[in-house]
């Protein structure tokens, strides 16, 4: 081997960014093309340092913008290599055009998004505006709730994305600062074990295979565009979920850590439940347990795979729950939150009589406290007892000023 192995302790105290950077190293990513932005910077900085210290055999391409960063990734992926980058917020906004190119060209790329608010007003802290902005971009989207998962999900993302039946790029989301800059114990894999999970990159339709010339980035008008997009969607709906489950299963065999498209906590007999993403899932789990000591049968569902959206799994998990809160960490801009809409959609044509209410919270990094969640579960229990939603369907948590409620 032309590069050095790194000795890791079984448990390292890493923040989410460093955990992701270590995963990129252990996957031996061939090309990182990046334009750093807070709070994702340490991921690509970490890869660059590993490369300059000879822990990775790869290329770090410094570019002039996030648009160019993803363009570089697209070129490298089309050429035929394992490719990754990271960004946040405004960087992702500038990258957005090229995200659709990557998914439409069916190129396996792993993008770490360290979730951050979108300006204006300018804010470097964590919310899910950027994650939501690209939710229809045709990328697979995983969501990590803590540094351990930011590490693990990178391996899973490469595994799924590079599968020749999938060939679709994948995003690994983690909460800006709350995960990315929060150090916690991370169970590591040694370098050989980690690499064995993803294996050598297997190119497909690679442009550097001169014996088999291919065309990438074609133009199709009304004659073929729809068929391409339909095929892309079809594969997301029918092939990707099974491949994700298989990767989760294989990862569990290797590490003992089992992931699921939706993570269910205390849901078996839950009367009331919170559905959310990111670090909020873990805080809600702790509060749900405390609510159970007070006699409220509380549960939590964390969305592990945001795209393809686990529509049927959500419907199944919530069908017997009495009252549910959908928590969206993004300003919805004149509509209910995305999770509210998707959950409502999943249950509409079912027999479920679940009461659904939506909450917007945590914008720009605003703290979601345990107190907020205690109040939320109490409100859900009141809805369940009354057999109807007693509040308006959309409320805000933790915002100052007069109470905001709509719909």
């Amino acid at each position: 081997m032309a590069f050095d192995k790194m000795e890791l302790r079984d448990i390292e105290v890493w923040d989410g960014n460093f955990a992701a950077a270590q995963a990129l190293r252990q996957c031996q990513v061939d090309v990182v093309s990046a334009y750093p932005i807070t709070p994702s910077t340490p991921i690509v900085e970490g890869y660059a340092k590993f490369k300059s210290d000879n822990y990775v055999e790869g290329e770090y391409v410094m570019v002039e913008s996030e648009h160019a960063a993803m363009s570089g990734c697209i070129g490298a992926a089309a050429a035929g290599g394992r490719v990754a980058t990271a960004t946040s917020s405004q960087g992702l906004a500038l990258m957005a055009e090229t995200l659709y190119q990557a998914s439409g060209m069916r190129l396996p790329i792993v993008l770490n998004i360290v979730n951050r608010a979108l300006a204006a007003p300018l804010n470097v802290n964590g919310d899910h505006s950027d994650m939501y902005m690209v939710r229809d971009s045709g990328w697979i989207q995983f969501d990590a709730f803590c540094p351990q998962e930011a590490y693990d999900l990178n391996f899973i993302a490469f595994k799924v994305s590079e599968d020749h039946a999938v060939r679709t790029p994948a995003i690994v989301n983690q909460d800006g600062f709350m995960t990315s800059h929060t150090a916690q114990g991370v169970h590591t894999m040694d370098d050989d074990t980690a690499f064995s999970f993803v294996g050598e990159f297997k190119p497909m339709n690679d442009m550097l295979d001169f014996e088999h010339p291919v065309t990438h980035g074609v133009q199709t008008e009304e004659d073929w565009h729809f068929e391409h997009k339909a095929r892309q969607h079809n594969d997301m709906m029918t092939i990707v979920p099974g491949k994700i489950d298989a990767a989760f299963e294989e990862f569990a065999k290797l590490t003992g850590r089992k992931y699921n498209q939706i993570e269910q906590y205390d849901m078996d007999d839950a009367d009331v439940a919170v559905v959310c993403m990111g670090t909020s899932v873990e805080t809600a789990r702790e509060v749900a347990r405390e609510m159970r000591e007070k006699g409220i049968k509380a549960g939590v569902i964390g969305i592990r795979v945001f795209r393809p959206f686990p529509f049927m799994a959500i419907a199944e998990a919530l069908k017997d729950v009495k009252a549910v809160a959908a928590l969206d960490r993004s300003a919805p801009g004149g509509t209910p939150g995305a999770l509210f809409n998707e959950i409502a959609g999943s249950l509409f044509n079912s027999d479920s009589k679940m009461l659904l209410s939506g909450y917007i919270y945590g914008l720009g990094g605003r703290d979601l406290t345990k107190k907020h969640l205690v109040d939320l579960y109490t409100e859900l229990q009141a809805n369940a007892d009354a057999g109807k939603v007693l509040t308006q369907q959309q409320q805000f948590i933790g915002v100052r000023g007069p109470k905001l409620a709509y719909l």
């Binding site: 929060t182 150090a183 670090t279 909020s280 345990k370």
Partner: protein
């Protein structure tokens, strides 16, 4: 659950200190969390960092904390920040100052009736490390007050954590930790 809040200025090493402490504690099988409020803080701006320690995996990600310990590693923050905010009745304060504990409390009445310990981490850092980086001495003082670990065990672990620094700087940090351990009152 043990919870610690650090009051610092950006650049004084509170984040490194919090992460270093978490790393040492993690080696003993406990679960840890270390984080900070950054905002768009620039060097010199007041900021806070946090530690959580527990026997079980820490799932609480709220930033709100009622700390068991408050570390103040810049002397002026006792006057310009509210270091007692969200504190409990039995919260213990370890504060960097050139004053005695009595003088400090007299100068900041909010500390009246609280459990306050003082140590001059700035002076110790300047005299050992050669720069006013008061984070590692604060941890030495914390080891004394909390009796969390034997100081030699703590220093051995800190040597590993600081290993990427030049040996001279590592040695100076060990001196600083020991001096704060010995001098905190």
């Amino acid at each position: 659950m043990l919870e610690i809040r650090w009051h610092s200025r950006a650049g004084q090493g509170a984040v490194t200190g919090a992460k270093g402490l978490a790393d040492v504690i993690s080696t003993t099988g406990k679960h840890v969390q270390a984080f900070a409020f950054y905002g768009s803080a620039k060097r010199g701006a007041a900021m806070t960092a946090y530690n959580r320690v527990d026997d079980a995996v820490i799932m609480n990600h709220e930033k709100y904390m009622e700390p068991d310990y408050v570390f103040v590693i810049d002397p002026a923050l006792v006057y310009t920040s509210d270091v007692t905010i969200n504190a409990k009745d039995n919260t213990i304060y370890i504060i960097t100052t050139h004053m005695s504990t009595q003088e400090l409390i007299a100068s900041q009445p909010k500390l009246e009736g609280k459990k306050v310990y003082t140590v001059d981490c700035i002076k110790i850092a300047q005299e050992t490390i050669g720069r006013a980086i008061p984070n590692t001495p604060m941890l030495g003082a914390f080891m004394k007050i909390s009796e969390m670990y034997d100081i030699e065990f703590f220093k051995e672990n800190m040597k590993r954590i600081l290993a990427k620094l030049p040996q001279k700087i590592v040695d100076a940090n060990m001196l600083a930790i020991q001096r704060a351990y010995d001098e905190v009152k």
